[in-house]
Amino acid sequence: MARDGARLEPTRDGDGGWTLAAIGRWDLRATGGMARELEAYALDGAGNAAVRLDLSRLDALDTVGAYLLSALAQRLTAAGHPVTVAAVRPEHAALFDAVRAVCPPQPEPPAPQHPILDMLERTGRTAIHAVHEGLALLSFLGLITVTFGRLVLNPRRLRIRAVLFHIEQTGLNALPILGLLSFLIGVVLAFQGADQLRRFGAELFVVNLLGVSILREIGILMTSIIVAGRSGSAFTAQIGTMKVNQEVDAISTLGLDVIELLVVPRALALMISLPLLAFYADIMGLFGGAVMSYATLDITFGQFIRQLHGAVTLPHFLVGLVKAPVFALVIAMVGCYEGLKVSGSAESVGTLTTKSVVESIFLVIVLDAVFSILFSFLRV
């Protein structure tokens, strides 16, 4: 057997035993192909003869070669040959001994696999985990409420500067992106609506479509989703990084309240800025719709305003806006909760930030559906 300069040479000795000489370069690059041949290596016709493994003619030896040789010695022993390793060169001896000491590490038995049972188990675990998560969020909400109640009784403890800072971060700085996106949504809605309504000769009702859908649903939903992506993730990342740096632990040991210091200002700021942003998004959306209506349907701004005045009433507008503080609280709560869940590694900051965005958007849309049902009961 010869391959890439590494080979084995069996010879029969005078005393009935065999000598197996390993020759050439037994290293990483030379021995790759030999593994399978060695696996099936047998001395034909040797019976249970003793084997001397002669390593004196090696040109090079590394861990791979030493492993292959010691595995070979073990296989031969298992096949009934008493094996002795002979004539190891001094420069190879230490390596060969070191590898033999750990070779072969027992392969772990593969765990039995039941795909269907595994899937059931995973489903069950996920469900239970979701329930626990929901309960934990609920208790976090309770914690925020209690802390907030304490602050109402003792308003001097409220960190006004932090609240203002977060209003600027989450509200003011979101204006350009939110304005642009809302404007474009208005444009798209008007265009698609006009296309359908033109078939009935009812182009003017585009204004009703725009007014009702933007004010009731789209304005606030768009705003919440953008804010969840922008600010909810930022809350998780900020608090998570503080957690990694043990700043959160430091806050606790200094006798300060983590919820009061980190969570309440963020929640309060978002509850103030999100309704304002939603109002702004409403206006920009309607503006986009008006521009598109003028461009494709020749509806002037005057006509648009008159028609809008007839189409929407104050409740339409309020129905949209009343949801804003609730959504704001959910986004801030999830963002801070996931941030505080960060443990140790920087990696978990990334994972939990993703999770916080997905979770808060999910909750916002679910709550929106709940609000719809509620309003239909109340006939608003």
Partner: protein, 274 residues
């Protein structure tokens, strides 16, 4: 069973004569490193001989880690020449640079294990990338390396997040040794380990260095590592480097070096060794 238990600890002090005439495998010549106006290295020369354990020490901000990164090619010096295994590392073609990297192994300070993979998969990354070993053999080799690094066999299936700090270092060492490198770079290998774990890790490096014939370049602050396993010590002072055996550096009159080795901690470590 861990290999360091198999080999009786070699209590003989490192003999510098062993490598005194060995050819250098790392040559740094006239190295200059600048960050803006701040000069970190100014005409630094350093030779690392084949088969020696070199400990690199220096105060904070003297550029120990920077020197390591420059030798590894992760950073580029402003001036100077770095030769690794006889090749100038600057302007090396991609293929030769990769081949050179396969002949060096690095243990980063915090292990730098890939967190999405198990320990065994981590060790197999270089084996898969640089060799055409059959997968089953690569897995076996990974198991051998994990064993040689002193980890129990069941550690291979664990993820880095499930390991303690000492085990992460050992797993990182197993990955660094995956390709049987000629040079092993260690960045603060014993930092963050308890004294017993640190001593065991020193002994492990010592044994592996002997059995695999490694050249070890070790950035460290651990005076015990310096006195127990290093053949020579390189001290970064005054933007240059002074190299010598422990005994030679003990005679050095430079104030920082004197303070380092004759300060209370230095005395204690030497006393413990004696």
């Amino acid at each position: 069973m861990a290999p360091q238990d198999q080999h009786q600890p070699d209590q003989s002090p490192p003999e510098p004569a062993r490598t005194a005439h060995a050819p250098p495998v790392i040559r740094v010549h006239g190295l200059v490193t600048r960050f803006g106006a701040q000069v970190v290295h100014d005409g630094l020369d350093l030779d690392v001989r084949k088969g020696e354990v070199l400990g690199v020490v220096g105060g904070s901000g003297t550029g120990k880690s920077v020197l390591l990164k420059e030798i590894l090619g992760l950073m580029h010096p402003a001036e100077g020449r770095i030769e690794l295994l006889g090749r100038d590392t600057a302007g090396l073609p991609e293929a030769e640079r990769v081949a050179l990297q396969a002949r060096t192994g690095v243990l980063f300070q915090n292990g730098a294990l890939f967190s999405s993979m198990t320990v065994a998969e981590n060790v197999m990354v270089p084996l898969k990338e640089h060799t055409d070993l059959p997968l089953a053999l690569a897995a076996e080799i990974a198991r051998v390396k994990i064993g040689m690094a002193g980890l129990p066999p069941n550690a291979g299936a664990k993820f880095p997040s499930e390991l303690s700090g000492g085990m992460i270092k050992r797993a990182g060492l197993a990955r660094a040794l995956a390709l049987d490198p000629e040079i092993l770079f260690l960045d603060e290998p014993t930092a963050g380990l308890d004294p017993i774990g640190a001593a065991a890790f020193d002994q492990l490096i010592h044994n592996l260095q002997r059995s695999l014939g490694l050249t070890v370049f070790m950035v460290t602050h651990d005076l015990d590592s310096l006195t127990s396993i290093c053949d020579r010590i390189a001290v970064l002072v005054d933007k240059k480097v002074r190299v010598g055996t422990l005994d030679e550096l003990l005679q050095d009159t430079h104030p920082w070096i004197h303070e380092y080795f004759h300060g209370p901690r230095g005395r204690a470590a030497r006393h413990a060794e004696a």
